[in-house]
Subunit: 207 residues, 4 copies
DNA sequence: TATGAATGAGCGTTCATTCAT
DNA sequence: TATGAATGAACGCTCATTCAT
């Protein structure tokens, strides 16, 4: 895992001319898949579409990837590893934990900006239920946003852009609940409390 | 949207006996679907499975829901609305914005605990790519967790349980990036900055 | 095994009207498949062809059989069991071993005549290599046929129709060799000797 | 037919060095194919597998054989002819028809023992339906075997090993029925009768 | 002569949805 | 209203064969 190598018999790993051609086709398939996954979602993207977009035959796809899932995995893993490396590099040399966090955060967003397609796959709502989930999501974000704005007006909260904070809070809570569903050994009270204190401190206006 | 009503011809909306039977079947389908979606994911759940689990014929499903998507939408919307109502109720009467946040957060987690199945659908990682995405996720969480622990040891961060904080941060960043992908008019620098300041203040140890 | 029952969830095993319809479709699929297998061979017969010939949709096939292999198995087993039963019945009551053999032999051929399609599947040369294997086969049969004819002329062999004897001998030897390939613990000399003595006695002219 | 020559443009038929190399590759392909066909069946053997096993490129295959069928045909024909020649040789010089039969039979089995792979292709049950057909086959062989044993105990039949006789009989009947399916002009009664008399005489105990 | 990457028609199978009863 | 058998479009995948190098 974590390499950008094929999970398919490499036959004659990069043997000059042919090897180059092979590598090029593989790269082309990855590029096409990445774009299609990002815009149509995994299920909405057909193997034949990827092949067509990469300008190769359907069967060629299977010469480079075991199946659709395998290509997806390659895409995700390869990107994750690259990002992790960049984040590690950014943090190295810094000693202040806060500075490390800042570096990592910056790297994360910069990397995302440079790899929008893959991020859309990794973090984007799957295109499939988009409308529905977006609506629901928007509902909660709107509520939080309004609350936050009021808190800002009351000089209780930091004057951050309310939408951003609302998204941040929704993301934090969603993730915590999702994780808790699989780790119910952690008391929900502790999670609730930690979450709230992170939010409280995070949003409190400087005195 | 947002009602728990069928998008199907109501035929004879709640006419006594029959109406009750009809409502019961519908509820049974929702219950069965909710459970199956939660454990097998949307794509892994077949309409026939839902019908079987609800102990009705396949065709009966379509007497109550236009199609699989519609049932899913009903499920999600109905739960969202209930949760929103509970959160609103919890906040009403409170004036301190921080207290409002605390109330909303508590309600959110309590509601989640009481409606695990639906939350697994809404916030759970889709069962489909579970292993893969989990691996990737775990990678980043682990990194953050370690950084955080070091910061706690250095008396820089609050002594929260590191895993919880790591999940919270990952959730916050994921959501922000996901949202930004669709709202690129907001400068990424502001998002980066806000995110970092939320994290910094949120995690800073009390003096 | 050995039943003519579906290996598919029977849902509501023969519940009146619906059950009858279901059974009819299943029978129709079997009938169609039998005919197609016999004339085009297993690989030459597509599931869609079977469905079409049975005048049902492709998907209907899978409502009755797990897959193409399963239908084939059903076909073969069901016929085998029916034949075996008839042969048993024919032998019952007879005490002379020779008479039993005669009865079994007669039944076998009569049954074959009445179930040509299935026998073509079970014993026919797979259509696929037909021409080739036929040519080779014919070569050996021709040789034996000629030898036999000469033996008949020389009043050494019984005046049976030479082709029949030649086919019988080729069949016997083929089967013995095929079986021996999987049971090499039996000395090939014993097989050779037994085979030859069966042929010798079987063909010797009455004195 | 019947030659071991390629049906492919001979290019420069056996011109010394090159010709030898060419012949060697061809032989290697045949050898590899023979082994693979025997163990995996025709359909289970891919052209690419053959090439790989022969340690040549896929395309090379087509430099030596028109296609998969052609190689198979070559394999079968070449072996058939060699066997036929050996059988002819064995019979030559013998005048007693019975002796000729014995010689041919011996040669057949000896040849089979020396060419197991090809015989597995020619006479072996196709690997594909092996389990199923074996089960069915075993059923009938078992019945005959038991009948035969009883006849031996009753001193009616020759004391041959029952399994061998059972296989012989099944082979004889299978072949006859298979042949009859394509030659229905021969009355089935004559076939039945001849078969039975061959079996009867063949198995009768010496007085 | 040899290679192996590329091809693409064609197959088995799935499953949301319909409809006759 | 309920049923479940029937439907068929659509998909993932295979593999014999071709062809540029």
């Amino acid at each position: 895992m974590g390499s950008n190598k094929t999970n398919i018999v490499p036959l004659a790993e990069a043997s000059g001319r042919q090897g180059r051609r092979r590598a090029k086709t593989r790269a082309e398939l990855l590029r096409a898949a990445q774009q299609l996954f990002a815009s149509r979602g995994f299920h909405g993207t057909k193997v034949a579409d990827i092949a067509t977009a990469a300008d190769v035959g359907t069967g060629t796809f299977y010469l480079h990837f075991e199946n659709k899932d395998a290509l997806f995995a390659d895409l995700v893993k390869e990107t994750s590893f690259r990002m992790r490396e960049e984040m590690d590099a950014a943090k190295s040399g810094l000693v202040d934990p806060h500075e490390q966090n800042r570096a990592a955060t910056s790297t994360f967003f910069r990397f995302a900006a440079e790899n929008r397609d893959v991020f859309r796959i990794l973090f984007g709502h799957s295109v499939e239920f988009d409308t529905l989930l977006h609506e629901v999501h928007a509902l909660f974000v709107a509520d939080i946003e309004q609350s936050y704005s009021e808190g800002v007006d009351a000089k209780v909260f930091q004057p951050f852009r309310a939408t951003i904070v609302a998204q941040a809070i929704v993301g934090m809570l969603s993730q915590l609940v999702s994780w808790w569903l699989d780790h119910q050994e952690i008391p929900i009270e502790e999670i609730t409390d930690t979450a709230h204190r992170l939010i409280r401190q995070g949003t409190t206006r400087d005195v």
